[in-house]
Each structure stands twice: as C-alpha cells, then as structure tokens.
Amino acid sequence: MQLVTPGIGLIFWMLISFSLVLYVLGKYAWGPIMKGIHQREDTIEKALEAANEAKKEMLQLKAGNEQLLRDAKDERDALMRDARKVKEAILDEARDKANEAAARIMENARENIEFEKMAAINDLKNQIASISIEIAEKLIGKELENKKQQHELTEKLLKDVKIN
C-alpha cells in the first residue's frame, strides 16, 4: 500500500523543487542553450550558403580564366601564323631575288660567252684569213706538179689549221 500511496511530504517537496528547477533551468540553461544552438545552426547554414556562392563564383572565375587562356592561345596561334607567313614571304622574296640575281649572272655569263665566242670566231676568221693568205702565198710560191698533189697539200694544210 505504501508503494502506491503518494506521500504529502514528497509531493510538497517535489512541487517546490520541480518548479524551481523548471524556472532556474528555463532562465539560465535552456534559454542560452537553445539560443546558442539556434544561432550556431543559423551560422552554419549561412556559412554553407556562402561556400556554395563562393564555389559558384569560383566556377565562373575558372570559366573566365579558361576563356582568357583560350583567347591567349588563339592570339598566340594567330601571331605564330602571321610570323610564319612573314617568314615565308621573306624567304620567297629572298629566293626570288637570288634567282633573279642568278639569272642575271647567268645572262651576263651567257652574254660574255657569246661575246667571247664572237670575238674568238672573229679572231679565227682573221686567223683563217691570214692562214689562207699564207697558204695562198705558199701555193703561189711553190708550183705544184699536178692537181692531185695540189689537192693533197690543201688537205694537209687544212688539217694543220686548228680552230683554236
């Protein structure tokens, strides 16, 4: 019976103690604790949001950087291409010039040769003339017995004549 009969004393002390602990903890413990937890949760949420925001920004930044890089690469390629073109142009020009020069030199050489050849031919002609004259002189000077001998001599003489 004692087990299931609530005692007045314990009820009294329990009422007082529990009211007191409810008041004291409500004021000095649960208030600050709940407020602290709530505040921290808010802070964490905000921090997470900010982190997400930062991530997004970073992605954007990264995309921008990539774009920049790509542009730079394109520009570099363009520059390279231009440089190559310029180089080729210069080379072509140089080659042309060289060819031209070579052609000119060749032309000159040819002209010289022609000139020399003409000179040589002229010279030869002159020599032939003089030789012919000599031969003629010799022919005239020496009486040939027969026509056959004469012809042989002419042949012989002609053989001696060397065009240089």
Binding site: P6, G7, A29, G31
Partner: protein
C-alpha cells in the same frame, strides 16, 4: 523557515556507526575490501567521517541478537523501493551505516523537527512520535499515547514534510541538473558559434534529440519553442533520476522516479500545461464533440463524460507508466539479488552457485534498465509534447463536421 530546514539537514547528515572500535575491527576483517568499496562508492572517505558528528547507535535490543530473523525477500525489496526517513547504506552483522535525515512534522499547525536518528530505526519513540516498522502505517510517523512509547492507532496521522531519502535524492538531482546545465548554458553564452566541447558535446545530441524528435513532431515547428524548457527539464529530470536510481549506493539508489508522488507531480505539470494551453477547438471537442450523433450527448452526456475521463486518464497513464516501469525494474533486480540469500539460507553452496546466475541476470537487467531509463524519459517527454500539441491543434475540419448534421 527554509533556512532552518537546510541547516538542520546539513547538521544532521551524520553517520551511524556502532563505535570507532567497531570500524577498526571491521577494517581487519576479511570483508575489508567490500566495506571499503562501499564506502568509496558512497562518497565517504575515511577522513570525512571525522568531520561529521558521530551518532552512537544504542545497543541493539536483546531479542534481535538472540533470534536471527529469516530472510524475507518481499520485505527487503519493498524496503528498498519505498521512501525512508534515513538513508540506509549497509548493514554488516550489528553494524549499521546509514544517514539519519531530518524529520519535519506539521501536527495541528505546529511544526516539529528533529533528526530521524532519534527514532533508532523505529525502535524508539521521540517527542511523542514514533516511526512505525509494521502494520498499516508502516514507514509512517505516528503519534504516541500519553506514555510516549506506544503508538496511538486512533489518532490522525501528522502531516509529514520530512526530508526523506527521496526528498534528499530529489535535492541532489535538482542540484546536479542546475550545475550541469547552467555550466553548459554559460558555455553557449561565452563561446557562441563554436563546436561543442567536453560535457557540452555529450549532452548536445540529447538536447537536439528532445528538440527534433520530441518537441517538433508533437508540437510542430511553429509552437515548439515555447515548450522546450518544460520538455527538456522533464526529460533530463526523469533521465537523470532514472540513472541515479540505478546506482546502488549513496547518492544514488533512491527509487525517486519509481515513486508515485514524484510521477504524480510530473504528470500534474503536464496536465496543467495542457489545460492552460487548450484552445477553443480542444474544449469544444470535449464538451460538444463535433461529428458525433446527438443522442450520445443528450439526454445522457455520454461523449462528454468519456472525453472528460480521457482528460484525466492521460496524465494518470503518464504517472503510472513511469512509476510502474521504474519500480518493476528495481523489483526484478532486487529479486535476483534476493535469490542469492534465499538459496544461501538453505545451503551456503547453493547460495554461491545461484549467485553466478543472479549476478549474470542482474548485469543483464541493469543494462536493460539503462535502456529503460532513457526510454521512459523519452516516452514521458514525447507524450507530454503530443498532449500539448493536441490541445493546441487547429481544428479546421470542425466546420465541415457541423454542416453534416
């Protein structure tokens, strides 16, 4: 008045030893370790005892020494579960270690207070009062007849506001609650927005548990904040006292949450808050439930009666559930321990043999009780929050019920 009670309490927390010689002798016995562990566990050091005044117990009455009482398991269990005017710690042969607690009696408007040590465990009367050890008034303080010795069966019982074992345990737990949670509260105040450290990090998950799994499901996100202080207090009060009840020695071991007076007050708080917060819809459902055939209300108000009974059964169930669960756990544990002595009285070998099983089951039950300690605190807080939520529920469907009829 209050200050007087507190100083009385402090001055009277003394220990009862037969005498100092007895302690010396005890220390030399083979059971030295058992006693020492008991003393250490109960928070008394040897040095401490000197600072408290020693109350010499009277010589034990002759009849008790001659006839050794047979072990009564039922009586032992009940004695351990119910309230007491002294905090008994251990008995070894004729040696009693117990803390006498202050007795405060309101008798015909007159306040009487003295140490319960004067009763000598109910063997003696003091100032016209006697502590009954048997009969209907067992464990209660009764008035004596003119001779100052025999109990007056016909007299009305004086109102007993004594600082009993449970009351002292209540004070200790309240003090502990305040110490723990105010210190934690200060931590939140001092370092806001930092990760919890130490005790704070142990208790915070449970505080969040009360918020997220007890308050918010029962009350909704809109209303829960207002009830958090009560729900947290009730949860931690029950949980801490359940745990303290599992510690077998001082300052634990008082079956506080297994006491019907305590659970009654807790349930009354829930009932009072529910009633205070009941909105129009809540009262309408009780007095004139919508959607119920009229002949259930007139001429015999059957539904209102059922509803009003339901109003009372809710806190009643809260009270009984906690009380019965905690008491049952204690009874089972004590029952296992009693088995050792019941068998030991028959045969010493049987006693030791049974002790193995008793201890194994005792350990198992203790672990189970740890779970129960938490579950009961959870259930009490959860049901409270659900009752509050029901009282504050918005009844949008009321209109459609009334138009039906």
């Amino acid at each position: 008045m209050n200050r007087g009670i507190i100083s009385l309490k402090l001055s009277n927390i003394a220990f009862k030893f037969e005498n100092r010689l007895m302690i010396r002798k005890l220390l030399h016995t083979a059971r030295l370790q058992v006693v020492l562990i008991a003393l250490l566990l109960s928070g008394f050091t040897y040095g401490n005892t000197a600072t408290h005044d020693m109350v010499t117990s009277p010589s034990v009455p002759a009849h008790e020494q001659t006839e050794k009482k047979a072990f009564d398991a039922g009586k032992m269990i009940i004695d351990h579960i119910v309230d007491a005017h002294e905090w008994h710690i251990l008995t070894y042969n004729d040696f009693h270690l117990s803390i006498p607690l202050p007795v405060i009696i309101l008798d015909k408007g007159k306040l009487v207070s003295f140490s319960s040590g004067h009763f000598h465990h109910g063997h003696e009367a003091y100032r016209g009062y006697r502590l009954m050890t048997e009969g209907v008034n067992e464990g209660k303080i009764v008035k004596t007849l003119e001779d100052g010795e025999t109990a007056d069966e016909s007299a009305k019982l004086p109102l007993d506001f004594s600082i009993t074992k449970n009351v002292l345990s209540l004070f200790i737990s309240v003090l502990l609650l305040c110490l723990i949670f105010i210190s934690i509260g200060n931590k939140y105040k001092k370092n806001p927005n930092t990760a919890p450290k130490g005790l704070q990090s142990v208790l915070e998950p449970l505080i969040l548990f009360v918020r997220d799994d007890i308050a918010i499901p029962g009350l909704g996100k809109k209303n829960y904040a207002r009830f958090m202080p009560f729900l947290l207090t009730v949860f931690w009060f029950i949980f801490l006292n359940n745990l303290l009840g599992l510690i077998p020695v001082f300052p634990g071991g008082a079956n506080l949450t297994g006491n019907i007076a305590v659970t009654m007050v807790l349930a009354l708080f829930t009932f009072a808050i529910t009633t205070y917060n009941g909105n129009k819809g809540y009262w309408k459902h009780i007095v004139n439930a919508p959607g119920v055939p009229w002949w259930l209300k007139i001429p015999i108000p059957l539904m209102p009666i059922v509803e009003i009974v339901g109003l009372i059964t809710k806190p009643f169930v809260l009270m009984v559930r906690l009380f019965a669960n905690m008491t049952a756990g204690h009874i089972i544990l004590l029952g296992f321990m009693s088995l050792i002595f019941i068998f030991g009285n028959m045969n010493i070998v049987a006693g030791y043999g049974v002790s193995i099983f008793s201890i194994a089951f005792g350990v198992f039950m203790s672990l189970l009780e740890l779970l129960v300690a938490f579950i009961q605190a959870y259930v009490f807080a959860l049901l409270s929050s659900i009752y509050f939520g029901m009282a504050m529920e918005e009844h949008e469907h009321t209109e459609e019920h009334t138009t039906e009829h």
